[in-house]
Symmetry: C2
Subunit: 465 residues, 2 copies
């Protein structure tokens, strides 16, 4: 039996403790945080502890024609880390060393299993930080790379793609190679690093990541700004960005969502009742500067602009309330899940198209007689919509409408969650076939046998492979 042979070879390469097979599989290893899980049992779950061991796993998989699915911390939202039947799940949580931390070069070279929290802890006191903030601090760097994770600070600091300088990869045929490096720019051949970022494990196994760090800005202030309507929020954000104030967060939360957040997390935000009554939409703004003097000046400029643009008030939150609010915003996924959310859309559109998309979502919500919760990274056009409807067909029909609207205004299906298994059918249906064909060829260039996270397809179901 092949699977027993594979198991024995894996155990010989990694040791007994690093290889799990049924019935010893841990359920936690078999899914991410997708709302649409499929109970799939893989051939094995392995935990290599070095690049050499990852290459051994790839060699064994190649020999037996077995699929490989990489898994970081399983915090993804799109089902990209789910096992495939008969495949090997490669968990990277035994590879979390920081191989180099260089304050002069402002780079960190890390193994992919390192979590954002662990990286943050290691950087404490160095004056440096990794500024990408997807929110879920238990997420792994490898997972972030494969998803091109974004988050609330993207409006100023960019996304994972902008902070990864180089990778070490293990290819499907077990070749180990390096691309990029600890350099800030390069024009030296095709940028394989950038191609692998966001590829959701379908091109290669990432075994090492060189990250660009940034100086910590020590003076921070969080503003909570109520408006009477969403249009005003959307109008003020480009103006705020155009000032050069460089806000690190410009987050939109609608009033019902803020109320839900405040209730779930017992937030004390100090919004006066007569303001709360009139507020339909809130803008959260984080400013970060080098000095307190500069912060005073920036806060004054920002407040003047916000008030002039129709803010009902501008609350500069205390440190405690501010961190509570940001943490609560990050927990929104869990709050929504507890409330029975059935789908989460993270369509990204040009900033100016956010109001029309949100108007449309309200119209759809009325038409289907269902709630669609809204919040989002309004500064970078990445809107998060929570769909609460039980019927699968109606849910898919709502998602389809919203995604089509996003694409029609020049957007893309996912800003930061990825396509994964969950959005693959929508993606295939809505993407130019010529672009799909080219992507299929790129996949073949890395993985001609189609064994790297083989959920990814390039033609709609029923079409040719």
């Amino acid at each position: 039996m092949t699977s027993e042979v594979v198991r024995r070879e894996l155990v010989a390469a990694l040791g007994e403790a690093a290889v799990m097979t049924a019935p010893g599989l841990a359920l936690d290893d078999l899914h991410d945080e997708s709302l649409h899980r499929h109970a799939v049992e893989p051939l094995a779950v392995v935990r290599p502890s070095s690049t050499a061991e990852v290459a051994s796993v790839a060699r064994i998989a190649a020999r037996h024609g077995v699929a490989l699915v990489p898994r970081g911390s399983g915090t993804g939202l799109s089902g990209a880390a789910e096992p495939v039947p008969g495949g090997i799940v490669v968990c990277f949580d035994a590879m979390k060393r920081i191989l180099r931390l260089d304050p002069a070069d402002q780079v960190a070279v890390v193994q992919p299993g390192l979590t954002l929290r662990e990286l943050g802890d290691a950087l404490a006191g160095t004056g440096l930080r990794y500024p990408v903030y997807p929110g879920e601090m238990s997420g792994s760097i490898g997972g972030n790379v494969n998803t091109n994770a974004g988050g609330m600070r993207a409006v100023r600091h960019g996304v994972t793609r902008h902070h990864v300088l180089g990778l070490e990869l293990v290819l499907a045929d077990a070749t180990v190679l390096r691309c990029g490096g600890a350099v800030m720019k390069s024009s030296s051949g095709y940028d394989v690093t950038q191609l692998v970022i966001g590829s959701e494990g379908t091109l290669a196994l990432v075994t090492e990541v060189t990250l660009k760090l940034a100086p910590v800005l020590t003076s921070c202030a969080t503003m909570l700004v109520p408006f009477e309507n969403l249009a005003s929020v959307c109008q003020v954000v480009p103006r705020l960005i155009a000032t050069g104030l460089s806000p690190s967060i410009t987050e939109y939360v609608d009033a019902p969502t803020l109320r839900a957040l405040a209730a779930a997390s017992s937030l004390e935000l100090g919004v006066a009742p007569q303001v709360a009554e009139r507020a339909a939409a809130y803008l959260i703004v984080l400013l970060e500067t080098r000095t307190d003097g500069q912060m005073d000046a920036d806060l004054a400029s920002a407040s003047a602009l916000l008030e002039e643009a129709g803010a009902l008030d501008v609350y500069v939150l205390g440190e405690h309330a501010a961190s509570q609010l940001i943490e609560a915003r990050e927990r929104l996924f869990w709050v929504s899940r507890d409330e029975g959310v059935r789908d989460i859309i993270d369509v990204v559109v040009p900033r100016s198209a956010v109001p029309s998309l949100l108007d449309a979502s309200r119209e759809i919500s009325r038409r289907y007689g269902t709630r669609i919760g809204g919040c989002g990274h309004v500064g970078d056009g990445n809107v998060h919509l929570s769909v609460f409807v039980d019927d699968d067909e109606r849910r898919q029909s709502i998602v389809r409408e919203l995604l089509r609207l996003g694409l029609a205004v020049g957007g893309q299906i996912s800003g930061e969650h990825g396509i994964g298994r969950d959005k693959q059918d929508y993606y295939l249906e809505m993407t130019d076939p010529a672009l799909l064909t080219l992507q299929g060829r790129l996949k073949d260039a890395f993985d001609p046998e189609g064994r790297m996270n083989p959920f990814r397809r390039f033609t709609p179901r029923g079409g040719d492979a």
Copy 2:
């Protein structure tokens, strides 16, 4: 005769005026600014004026198995835009429209022939700019995309790669497709945009570029800072960056190079003679802030740090002297060329490795008994070395030594000039064969017949194709 048939088809598609063949070819269209030009006569030089015309050219080329070489303004330094025998040079200087300029979204959608100067002029008064500054303002956006152009402001603003959100492409088989778009982030399939950036015309013809713009920062100050030695310059730069002051330029110029620049451009920099006598290396720092008040504070912080780190003095240049100095720095290539430079290296290394690389260049200069001029973007590790030696074999041997040193400390062969024809042999010789093989497969995925700027090889000369 095929060439006559091709010519006739091109004329039918583009019109007589847009198709040139020998003996009517303009010499200017047949080279870029590489120091190592080859006199090659192509089958034709064409000037399409729309994406549809570019696709027609590609269709004709595909039908007859003819190669395509894109050309922007010909300001490249690595020979990537040179014709190939029997091929078609596709000049984009008739495609320079701004298709969309959106202040709210802070994006510009432009045709590839638009020059940096033309884009800058169009943005005047909008409060926005395209912050990448490769220096040569006659360079085209399409050329910048294909080279992943960098320049002096990369230390703060990044390179072309960080400001291109989407592309329209014409593939070798004449397929027209779009990738990316006017969105600030995406996790929706493989990032074809990023793969094409820096590909030097070897993957596809770029027919439209969506650029991310940035707010103009209105308060600027340029500091010229003499030091007794280069080591001090290299040590202070990471400290300066670590403060969060975000300098937009941190440029190193050695004393002989600054003298040559000052003489060539009649610069009045106001450096006291007793300081000039002791100075072996100069650091140029540009600060940009939102307000004059912030600039005063930042200048004070920066000056204190620089003086504490051994600066012989800190000269804050007047506006006129500052722009003269930056322009003179940009003209350095031409100054060097007039002085008989034979090769220009733009190796990029981790920032902390710059001193060892420059030490090595001085040692090599002594050993070969020849001058090697130095300046560079010390903030991002991109060192520019001018080699003045007539004998080709000795020159190549010097270049080889310097590139190998750069690679040995974790660098890459080119930070911003590209590999092109000039550095291809070095690149093939010094790059991991596994990475070359993968790149060859990526090339095949776009261009299975190898007709897109076919100078690019993936195995050393004499190896298998």
